[in-house]
């Protein structure tokens, strides 16, 4: 597919790697915020090809992973009700709630459907006017415009039996929270490319100045990641901290103004809890008053939620970059993609799932990758 293969070219990857090795003289810790970037780094073995002194810390940019347990339990409760068709992206189905997941609820007879796009859920609502259709609206700024447009269309078309269970999260407040944490080791960030495709880069200069931290907008293919890392290390080595855009083919500085306008029409900023991390002020979106009729949380009163988190799962530490997945005692034994204890082992963007899938099973045996940087398959967030 065009513009995927080209940005996985092994010969050009060699050039970029060589540059990174040339400029690196000291230890550096760089966080890739986005889980899609984590998967790409691990899949292509890029972290193992970097100089040993450059550590990639995996960030919390996995929307499935950070959706609060209370919201998952609420989804399970709503999905279980008669007359409800509960629609979701596929990743959410195996995310453990307090004792069960959407897949299990589906197997007991609930009408849970996986959709590709939120517009598919709206079409299901139009086709089933006697049923209540709920869409699980999760995701970062990349996904929020799709959900915003769907609610906007539901209102415009008068589809009253459609509602959205909203658990949207935002990247810049998470970066601030990471930098404010006492145990923070992060010295620079690769910002999530497709979040910036929507929002532009205007939110980052303030973070760069406030925390004196380089932020480099980065894509997802091997060459994109290597170029983002090269520019980041170059800034660190020369004592600079700037906003830089290493993904210009998909990120104009202004982002997508039409999408941002729709986000402001439908959503307002709110405080949001992140699973494994806790409350981050101003880090989420909720529906505005004008769209409150489409809020599943208001439409379906759910009380008596008693959340029970796994005591063994250390996904919170993984999401904060404090440990690597294979440092958890349950990793790969009691916790696998088939029997996940936490959402980071479920999602296609979860760090634990990436380590498991690409066989990074032992923290002490860092084996070289089976093959060098390979041609990219698909890009994330």
């Amino acid at each position: 597919m065009r513009y995927l293969e080209e940005f996985g070219d092994p010969a050009l990857a060699d050039r970029l790697l060589e540059q990174i090795h040339t400029v690196t003289t000291r230890p550096w810790a760089i966080m890739e915020v986005c889980g899609g970037q984590t998967h790409s780094l691990i899949r292509h073995g890029i972290d193992q090809l970097l100089p040993a002194s450059v550590e990639m810390i995996h960030g919390p940019g996995c929307p499935v992973c950070v959706t609060p347990l209370e919201v998952i339990d609420r989804a399970l409760e709503i999905a279980s009700r008669p007359g409800v068709i509960f629609c979701s992206f596929g990743d959410m189905l195996r995310v453990p709630g307090s004792g069960r997941d959407l897949f299990q609820v589906k197997s007991t007879g609930a009408d849970v459907r996986v959709v590709y796009s939120p517009l598919d859920a709206l079409a299901i609502a139009r086709q089933n006017p006697e049923r209540q259709v709920v869409f699980f609206g999760i995701g970062f700024e990349t996904t929020a415009p799709a959900n915003a447009m769907t609610v906007y269309q539901a209102r415009r078309q008068g589809v009253r039996n459609f509602s959205l269970l909203v658990s949207h999260v935002l990247v810049p407040p998470a970066i601030a929270a990471i930098m404010e944490a006492p145990a923070c080791r992060v010295q620079a960030f690769l910002a999530a490319g497709h979040v910036c495709s929507v929002m532009g880069t205007g939110q980052y200069p303030d973070l760069v100045r406030r925390y004196r931290v380089p932020i480099v907008v980065t894509g997802f293919e091997p060459l994109d990641l290597l170029e983002g890392i090269r520019r980041t290390v170059t800034q660190l080595e020369t004592g600079r901290y700037e906003l830089d855009n290493a993904y210009p083919r998909a990120v104009p500085a202004e982002g997508n103004p039409a999408a941002v306008a729709m986000l402001h029409e439908v959503f307002a900023v709110t405080d949001r809890s992140w699973r494994g991390i806790g409350m981050i002020p101003g880090s989420g979106w909720r529906l505005t008053e004008a769209y409150r009729d489409f809020d599943a949380e208001a439409r379906f009163a759910v009380s008596d939620l008693h959340t029970v988190e796994s005591t063994e799962c250390r996904s919170g530490e993984v999401l904060q970059g404090l440990i690597k997945p294979h440092e958890c005692a349950a990793f790969g034994t009691r916790c696998t993609p088939r029997t996940p204890l936490g959402a980071t082992m479920v999602s296609a963007e979860g760090a634990c799932a990436a380590y498991y899938r690409y066989r990074r099973l032992n923290p002490h045996a860092m084996s070289p990758p089976a093959r060098a940087v390979t041609v990219g398959g698909a890009a994330h967030v």
Binding site: Y3, E6, P51, Y116, A146, E227, R249
Partner: protein, 97 residues
């Protein structure tokens, strides 16, 4: 979940008052909402996420990036009197060691 993939617009259309496009992803075609890139033309590349075009792919910028990567290190090698390295496995093996 947050997969976003470049695809080429092959046809423009409309459904329920919403601007839509048929987009080709290396042979697989999907209907995509074009409300956020309303002026995308047939033949252009857009970046698609959960059925929505969220950005236009700037092909010139993509070509410039690839050309810049190709030039990278060449000047230093010429100054050092070496030709460009062509064996793709050498620096990678060094890095692994």
């Amino acid at each position: 979940m947050c997969l976003a993939v470049p695809g080429r617009v092959v046809a423009l259309g409309e459904r329920d008052g919403t601007s839509m496009a048929e987009v080709d992803f290396g042979g697989v075609r999907k209907e995509v909402c074009l409300q956020y890139i309303p002026d995308a033309a047939v033949g252009e590349y857009v970046i698609v996420h959960v059925g929505f075009a969220i950005q236009r792919l700037d092909e010139q910028s993509a070509r410039e990036s690839l050309a810049a990567f190709a030039r990278m290190g060449l000047l230093a090698e010429e100054l050092a009197g070496e030709g460009p390295r062509t064996g793709p496995s050498d620096p990678i093996e060094e890095a692994i060691r």
